[in-house]
Amino acid sequence: MASTTKNWVTAVAAATWAGNAAAGNLNLQEPTTTIAAQIYSLHTYIMVVCVVIFVLVFGAMFYSIFKHRKSVGHKAAHFHENTTVEIIWTVIPFLILLGMAAPATKTILAMKDTSNADITIKAVGYQWKWGYEYVRGEGDLAGVSDGIQFYSNLSTTKDQIYDKSVKKSENYLLEVDNPLVVPVGKKVRILTTANDVIHAFWVPSFGVKQDAIPGFIRDTWFTAEQTGEFRGQCAELCGKEHGFMPIVVKVVTVDEFKAWAAKQAKDTGAPAAETAAAPAAQAAPEKTAAAGGAADGKKTFEGACAACHMTGVAGAPKVGEKAAWAPRLAQGKDALYEHAIKGKGVMPPKGGNAALSDGEVKAAVDHMVSLSK
């Protein structure tokens, strides 16, 4: 309670325009690509036009409110039609709209042009993290990073989120363990897709936002013009942790990029190979299951089942709680498989991931059982 007054004061102080304008909080983020810059000025232009119209229209209204009121003795006129003005105020807005549509059209066409990319990266949305896969490079980046894959998780710790007394880090909620690394000045094409539900890949200062739709590839592009770290967030409601799957893009020079890629390839041996299968596999689940037989149960578990079975949501038996599992195990593995695939009570079929193959679900069950015996 003691802090309430303080908060009030803070709030009021913070509300001062100067303070926030200085912090750059009143407008779109500082653009760092041509597209973002175009969007920025498009927004400014349209907003200014709207503000001007608004001031004119409501200037007239307030003039009327003050002059044409009964209390100042104004007598009502009786006109109720005037074809000329009605035509004027239909046509003029239309013309203004044309003036807005023209530059917008140009920007749209530019945003849509994903051809001639120097490097292509697949961004896969998972509940709740991003997986990145460097698909291919062109020109002097050919082969440099192809095949690199990794996951990018929120790195803010839980206690910062849930415990008030813990100090929040500088980039609270906007920091990840493995940022997406891209070279400066190169056209980067991002392919988006998702493993489970729709996510959206969004980096405001690049002017890039593209939904990641399970089962489909969609694309967008950007050319970063300055080095540094740029932050964004998943921008499509994707369930419980939607607020906790940020995107960090680290823009480095081309040389640094090459060095980074080489290091990744060296370290790859284990980690990259392990993660390698995952994004591709999970986006096209039926295939791997068919090809590889028992899929990676741990991965599936983390992606699809952990949400409930780590937390015990809705009475889901928690992994590791032997007591909860004993009676279930007594039914026999096949019953468990069956229930995991077909659903049982609140337990949705395949954990709600119809795209999973039966094999993957079984593997996940095996994994869960192995932890809970």
């Binding site: 897709t193 089962g215 489909f216 590839i217 694309d219 986006a283 096209a284 039926e286 068919a290 009570g345």
Partner: protein, 283 residues
């Protein structure tokens, strides 16, 4: 029309609406529980359904009695006509949603899954054609041909449209036997249609491996034909009720909206079938 205003029939307070609301309350909760395999779901559903059936007969029975009493003047009659037309319009839009889904999958999403980046990276080897179950479904099925039962069913429904009109003429001419015979024929055709469609579904499930779960084709096929079949069922029941009323001597040559409403509905169902036949079975 306007001079009839003063006696526009305003029904007395009625308990039917709250009974209906109760029915849907039971059905809503019942269905939700049933689908999640919980508790007394099926029983609630059953109770709700029973109340609903009671409601339908009770409420429409009362309407029929009021109508026979002569409570409905021409303005009320016109209201019924507007009401029924708009109701049918709402049904049209309901079917439009499913036809839209069919169109979308067939023209947009299935091709998209087999071409370009989605096809190459996620579903290699998937050939977009129609009919198809989808890139992630390994099982295969045989699509339903148009020129067997569906064609016969088309003929049946078209004929039934004619017979119901013929019955209507009978009513207008006050030729009761033509009316009743026409209705019986229509009902019989409706029942045969349903029987054949039931057989077709059996065939689809047991011989063609064509099921509701067969991806794009299976889902649109069964949802569209299924909702249509449901409407035929409702229409047939309505026709049977009307037949009963005709046999009880209801309706007059110049005043019989109950009959006309049902026949409009029947024609609507007919037209939907024609669209189905062309868009689902044939093309």
């Amino acid at each position: 029309m306007q001079q009839a205003h003063s006696s526009y029939y305003i029904p007395q307070p009625s308990t039917w609406p709250i009974i209906g609301a109760t029915a849907l309350l039971f059905m809503g909760f019942g269905a939700a529980l049933t689908m999640n395999d919980l508790g007394a779901g099926p029983w609630l559903l059953l109770v709700g359904f029973a109340i609903l059936v009671y409601l339908l007969f009770g409420w429409f029975g009362q309407v029929a009695r009021e109508s026979e009493k002569g409570a409905y003047n021409t303005q009320v009659d016109l209201s019924f006509r507007w009401g029924m037309s708009w109701f049918i319009f709402s049904e049209v839009m309901f079917f439009a949603a499913f036809f839209g889904a069919l169109f979308y999958m067939r023209i947009l999403s299935v091709p998209d899954l087999g071409q370009g980046a989605s096809g190459e990276l996620l579903w290699p080897g998937f050939a977009p054609k129609w009919p198809v179950s989808g890139p992630g479904i390994e099982e295969t099925f045989t699509p339903m041909g148009a020129w067997g039962i569906p064609a016969i069913n088309t003929l049946i429904l078209l004929t039934s449209g004619a017979t119901v009109t013929w019955a209507h003429w009978g009513l207008i001419k006050n030729n009761r036997s033509q009316l009743i015979f026409g209705l019986i024929l229509t009902i019989a055709l409706g029942i045969v249609f349903l029987f054949l469609q039931g057989y077709e579904y059996y065939h689809a499930y047991h011989e063609l491996n064509l099921t509701l779960t067969m991806g794009a084709y299976g889902a649109t096929f069964f949802m569209l034909t299924g909702f249509h079949g449901f409407h035929v069922t409702m229409g047939t029941i309505m026709l049977i009720v009307i037949l009963g009323r005709c046999m009880a001597g209801h309706f007059k040559p110049e005043h019989h909206f109950g009959f006309e409403g049902v026949s409009w509905y029947w024609h609507f169902v007919d037209v939907v079938w024609l669209l189905l036949f062309v868009l689902v079975y044939w093309l």
